[in-house]
């Protein structure tokens, strides 16, 4: 981005894949002027080839997925912010790089002006290049800038301390994603980030300094000026012209915002058959949503290619595993700096040096980023060169990175269980940043413990397990059906379990999509396909009574009107959906004119003739959402109300329509609806949580009182209709969660494997989620996530077999006293008595059923059970290593 000069031979970033240097044609002297060529001379491997020419290759493929992404909006043309002129006006992307440990400033937050001083005050300007028809053509909302600005402000404070002043200038705070509202709340309450509702007029430099004067108008219309050291422009996302040209070449329809035109019920399908879209080309979005629709695009492509599955793939070659039996442990210790994440607190070289002094350690070093691809390759090479047979990585946490490093071992031919991680980031540098001395000491302790443990590790084998190629989807709403349809189209038997007597879920109550499609019509098409598909089996009026088994082999007990049956399946998808809150405020229930949003939809669906005769209609937003007891945004209601307001206007253009809102969250191209509504004369009035609207019924009159935030006066509206945008409440099912051992958050939504990268699956293998059970979302997102869950499921089902963990318990029949405690105590029924043979009546453990919890090991008085990977001697070794050797 040009924050600092990049050499003409460069690597994009430390963890880049592939991690290869390349040459920047724009700055290379040789390419530009035909001189130099030093790199070619000095490269020891002769990798530099200036004769490389562009080659055109033709690929024959069955399907195409478009994921070209966005480019950040270039604010240079905004002369009022003087981005191009003033060094301390930067974009949010540039600020990300400044925060990054691998960035140009190594994570140290400084101004980009020559003095490189630490800023004391930073301002963020929202909606730069979004929601703006004035200075650019991007009328849509980019959807991510509010959150990233808050994140940057919070992290900047983390880097520079609480004294740093962070102010965010915004129009509507759009924190509609999962757990976003709490983050916003914390930023303001806990971290003291200032939120100022204003669109900044202009920035002028303070004479003779690089400081910046900001002029803006407060909500009550007062002109203010304030001086900041740094201004971060929260630039929006836009589709680059090359991409839109490319799309046009492909004859793919685009939206006014140049995003790909998709239908609500087929959210990743482009207008061209066989071509699918995901990521920001589909619409501006954040990472989890991109992950969801990329999985959805994958399954959509897979659906049309199901019959040629496995025809083009090759099996990866395995590096043969070297035997370490009878070898003295030769341990390699890699201490990760994790940029400044660890090295900023812990004295990493000292830890590495210390590690080298530990018994059996033959090699110890430190890495900048152990997880980057080149480091991985170097590590594998070191393991081979030094004949290491055990490895310790002191870095972040095994919960996220153990598999990666284990892979490195496998690539070096070492059994992946000959590995141990010392958690010196999540459980050390990040939590003891004010105590570097003790943190370094702790890191040494943890490394020592890991070294002692790993010395005793043994290579383990993993058992292979057949996967039952059948899927079970819990919930027959939109997302559940979408998941089932994808699974069935990909060729897998699928069962839908629905509590109610009808498929459809909440969609049965909806009138129109934001894109204008008729929900009921599309829904009945979908239900029709589901009901007639040969591979889909619908179980209505059915409840789950019991779940046994594990990934690949679940056995679920079903009960339907008194009949019981057992369903065997390999994967399960939770699509249990949500319901609207039944409000208790705003006089709901006291007057037939006061309805919920869905009740209004019902009127539309039924073509209620009374609607067009209304003189006035009022919408109140955030009914039950974003309240202390429900600290989340229900995401769908703003768009829904705006659309319904427009529908009313359409029925009767003279109708007075008011929308009372807190922040209007028509994210993405839904913003166009908002714009349209304003143009059509829908009146939007903001209220605050402290000052909610009052609803009174006086002499048959329905009166809504609210404070107008612009004029600061109380308004009283007499209305004929009051529509309440009520919160979305998950169908919390603790029993189900317990059956599948999947977590629920405090609000009752399921907790996915990873907030960003694993939105449609659980940490529990073989269990997936989608739809509003994950978080409130509109139909297109529900369908996309249904498809995504199916896609994630298919990645398991397509494998046909899986390997169980090597970390399981095993009995030593010589030591077993056959007392039966293990058989009695195991929650997974893994131990049993051997029936015949030399060890008859001794206990044995089924490796597939064993979860490796170790309960039996602790209960075994005879010490006859060993837990591979966490055996007594290994844990003792850690305990013994607690203290520095005597």
């Amino acid at each position: 981005m040009g924050i600092v000069k990049r050499k003409s031979a460069y690597v994009e970033y430390a963890q880049a894949v592939p991690l290869k240097y390349c040459i920047d044609g724009d700055s290379c002297i040789y390419i530009q002027k035909g001189k130099c060529g030093a790199c070619k001379k000095f490269c020891p491997t002769g990798a530099v080839d200036f004769d490389q020419k562009e080659v055109t290759e033709t690929l024959k493929v069955g399907s195409v997925v478009l994921a070209p992404g966005f480019r950040p909006f270039d604010p240079s043309k905004f002369d009022n912010y003087q981005y191009a002129k003033l060094p301390n006006v930067i974009t949010a992307m540039e600020f990300e790089r400044i925060l990054s440990a691998s960035g140009p400033t190594m994570g140290h937050v400084t101004c980009l002006s020559k003095d490189e001083k630490e800023p004391k005050k930073i301002a963020w300007f929202q909606c730069v290049g979004s929601r703006d028809m004035n200075k650019c053509d991007n009328s849509y909302c980019s959807g991510v800038c509010c959150m990233y600005a808050i994140k940057e402000a919070v992290i900047a404070k983390e880097h520079l301390g609480d004294a740093l002043d962070c102010a965010i200038f915004f129009m509507d705070m759009r924190t509609h994603g999962k757990e976003f509202e709490r983050f916003y709340e914390n930023a303001s309450e806990k971290h003291g980030v200032r939120f100022i509702r204003s669109k900044v007029h202009s920035v002028t430099p303070v004479t003779n300094t690089d400081d910046l004067e900001v002029r803006y108008v407060t909500e009550d219309g007062e002109l203010q000026t304030e001086i900041f050291d740094m201004i971060v422009l929260s630039v929006g996302l836009e589709i680059s012209p090359e991409v839109s040209d490319f799309a046009k070449q492909l004859k793919i329809d685009l939206t006014p915002g140049n995003f790909c035109q998709t239908a609500t019920f087929s959210p990743v399908q482009t207008s061209k058959e066989g071509i699918f879209v995901c990521g920001t080309l589909q619409g501006p979005k954040d990472i989890p949503q991109a992950i969801i629709d990329s999985s959805a695009a994958a399954t959509a492509a897979g659906e049309i290619l199901a019959e040629v599955r496995h025809t083009r793939t090759k099996t990866a070659e395995k590096v043969p595993e070297i035997s370490v039996t009878n070898e003295r442990p030769k341990i390699g210790v890699f201490v990760c700096r994790c940029g400044v994440n660890i090295a900023g607190v812990v004295d990493v070289p000292a830890v590495a040096e210390y590690a080298a002094s530990l018994p059996y350690v033959e090699y110890a070093t430190d890495n900048l980023y152990s997880c980057s691809q080149d480091t991985q390759e170097t590590m594998a090479q070191i393991i081979k060169d030094k004949n290491l047979n055990r490895v310790v990585v002191a870095a972040c946490t095994p919960k996220t990175h153990e598999p990666l490093f284990q892979e490195t071992l496998v690539n070096a031919g070492v059994n992946k269980y000959l590995f141990e991680m010392a958690n010196i980031r999540n459980q050390n540098s990040w939590v003891h940043k004010n105590n570097p001395e003790l943190a370094t000491k702790k890191a040494k302790d943890l490394v020592r413990m890991a070294v002692h443990k790993v010395a005793l590790m043994e290579p383990l084998e993993e058992a292979e397990l057949q996967i039952n190629p059948t899927a079970m989807v819990v919930g027959g709403g939109i997302s559940g059906m979408a998941a089932a349809r994808s699974l069935a189209r990909q060729g897998y038997e699928t069962h839908i379990i629905e509590k109610k007597s009808q498929l459809g879920g909440q969609a049965l109550n909806l009138y129109r999509t934001a894109k204008g499609e008729d929900v009921q019509e599309k829904l009945s098409d979908l239900i029709g396909e589901i009901e007639t598909h040969k591979k889909i089996h619908v179980h209505l009026d059915t409840e789950i009574t019991d779940v046994e088994g594990f990934v690949g082999n679940f056995e679920t007990g079903l009960s339907s009107n008194g009949t019981e049956e057992t369903l065997e399946h390999g994967i399960a998808i939770m699509a249990t959906g949500a319901t609207p809150l039944q409000p208790v405020e705003y006089s709901y229930g006291k007057d037939s004119r006061i309805v919920t949003a869905l009740e209004l939809d019902r009127k539309f669906i039924e073509n209620d003739s009374g609607l067009k005769d209304l003189n006035t209609a009022v919408f109140i937003q955030c009914v039950g959402s974003r309240e202390p007891e429900r600290m989340y945004c229900s995401r769908v209601c703003c768009t829904h109300s705006v659309d319904n307001a427009l529908q009313l206007k359409k029925l009767n253009p003279d109708m007075n329509v008011f929308v009372l809102y807190r922040d209007l969250r028509t994210y993405g191209e839904r913003e166009l609806l908002y714009k349209q509504a304003r143009e059509q004369g829908v009146i939007f009035i903001r209220y605050t949580l402290e000052n909610k609207p009052q609803v009174n019924i006086e002499n048959g009159k329905l009166l809504v009182k609210t404070v107008d935030h612009v004029i600061g006066r109380t308004l009283e509206i007499e209305t004929d209709l009051l529509a309440l945008a009520t919160a979305v409440i998950p169908n919390r099912d603790d029993k189900l969660a317990n059956f599948f051992k999947v977590p629920l958050n405090d609000d009752g939504f399921f907790v996915e494997r990873h907030a960003k990268l694993g939105p449609s699956e659980f940490a529990t293998d073989g269990v997936f989620l989608c739809g509003m059970a994950h978080y409130p979302k509109p139909i297109d997102e529900s369908i996309a996530q249904g498809q995504a869950a199916a896609s994630r499921g298919v990645t398991l089902l397509a494998r046909e077999t899986i390997f169980t963990s090597g970390t399981i318990a095993e009995t030593d029949p010589m030591l077993c006293s056959q007392c039966g405690v293990c058989v009695s105590v195991c929650p997974y029924s893994a131990p049993s008595f051997i029936e015949e043979g030399p060890f008859a009546e001794k206990a044995q453990i089924n490796p597939v059923l064993c979860k490796g919890c170790g309960l039996c090991v602790a209960s075994c008085r005879s010490g006859a059970i060993h837990l591979k990977g966490f055996d007594n001697d290994q844990i003792f070794a850690q305990i013994y290593a607690l203290n520095e050797a005597v």
Binding site: P359, M814, Y880, N883, E884, A885, V886
Partner: protein, 355 residues
């Protein structure tokens, strides 16, 4: 022969003098039992005890004895090298030990001090020790020393033999070591040797007469080992045994030990601990094979060793001094006298009678 008389009034002061040049050990009562302890300054050995609950073998051959130390720290020059530990082999005196217990050291010596192997720890400790015996005036009803090659006034292995004679102790001087101890204590009242010898002989006769318990071991040596080994009575002998090893731990003549390394971080020590042939692990091989896997084999081993193999190998009588500790302390009442009888009479018409 030299006999000394110690006026009991001079007993304490003499011991005090001794404490300057010897570490003193003697019986001391703790709660209900007597055991041998290092005597603190001014504490007198309790000579009233019948016999100590545990044998004094641990004075020479401790239950746990560190032999070497080592370091695993590869940064140290001498890592992985066994280094001897310093031990205190300064002169010690055991006051009030019973003749049977002292005789037992001579039996044990066969093991620790043989032409093939001289155990440095045992020998140095033994040689540093002066044994001041106390003759038994009132043996226990489980004492069978007289038939086990020993007796209440037995002198073998002692340096001095002390006898209670009312206000005085009579002391028979047996070795030069004993002589030296007397000199260090300042006990030098010689008495008429002949007269005293007579007096002692009478006391000895009286004491021996009080011993009612016995073992018969006359046939053991000539018996056929394999036949004895295969005798059917072992099942009955072994049945009650719970393999606790109490018998071997309290026995003054049991000498088996096991070597263990104990690590503490990057250093450790090699130590030997008493072991017992009663324990299943005693003969467990590294391979997992255990040649004496069953209780009956282990019980047989103990008795065969004491009463047959030892007899054959050393021609030194049975490996038992008749102290009776194992008889008194066996929790399930397995009685060596009875077993000895069964072995000795095996093959004759009468081999079932209990002792």
């Amino acid at each position: 022969m030299k006999i000394i008389k110690i006026d009991k009034k001079n007993w304490a002061s003499g011991l005090e003098d001794l404490a300057g040049s010897y570490r003193l050990f003697g019986p001391a009562k703790e709660e209900e039992f007597h055991n041998f302890k290092a005597l603190d300054q001014g504490v007198l050995p309790d000579l009233t005890c019948l016999n100590t609950r545990l044998s004094p073998k641990s004075l020479i051959y401790p239950q746990s004895e560190v032999m070497f130390e080592y370091s695993l720290d590869e940064s140290q020059e001498d890592h992985h090298i066994m280094k001897e530990v310093d031990k205190d082999y300064s002169p010690r005196a055991v006051i009030g030990i019973r003749p049977c217990d002292v005789k037992a050291f001579l039996l044990v010596r066969k093991n620790f001090d043989s032409p093939e192997y001289r155990d440095p720890y045992w020998i140095r400790a033994y040689e540093a020790t002066t044994f001041v015996g106390l003759a038994c005036e009132a043996p226990c009803n489980t004492c069978f020393c007289t038939t086990a090659g020993c007796g209440p006034y037995h002198e073998e292995g002692l340096d001095l033999l002390l006898m209670d004679a009312g206000d005085n102790f009579l002391v028979k001087v047996i070795t030069d070591k004993g002589e030296k101890l007397l000199a260090d204590a300042g006990w030098d009242t010689e008495v008429n040797t002949d007269e005293a010898a007579k007096q002692i002989e009478a006391k000895k006769q009286a004491a021996e007469a009080k011993i009612s318990s016995f073992v018969t071991a006359d046939r053991l040596k000539e018996m056929d080992t394999v036949e004895l080994y295969s005798a059917p009575f072992w099942e009955e002998v072994a049945f009650a045994c719970i393999n606790c090893g109490t018998c071997t731990y309290v026995c003054p003549t049991c000498w088996c030990f096991d070597i263990q390394d104990e690590n503490r971080g990057r250093s450790g020590m090699r130590m030997r601990n008493w072991d017992s042939c009663m324990y299943p692990l005693f003969t467990l091989h590294g391979s997992g094979h255990n040649p004496r896997d069953t209780k009956i084999q282990r019980v047989r081993q103990r008795f065969m060793h004491k009463l047959k193999y030892y007899v054959e190998k050393y021609d030194n009588g049975i490996q038992c001094v008749g102290c009776g500790r194992c008889v008194r302390l066996c929790p399930v009442n397995i009685d060596i006298r009875r077993v000895c009888y069964m072995m000795n009479s095996y093959g004759t018409s009468d081999n079932t009678c209990a002792a």
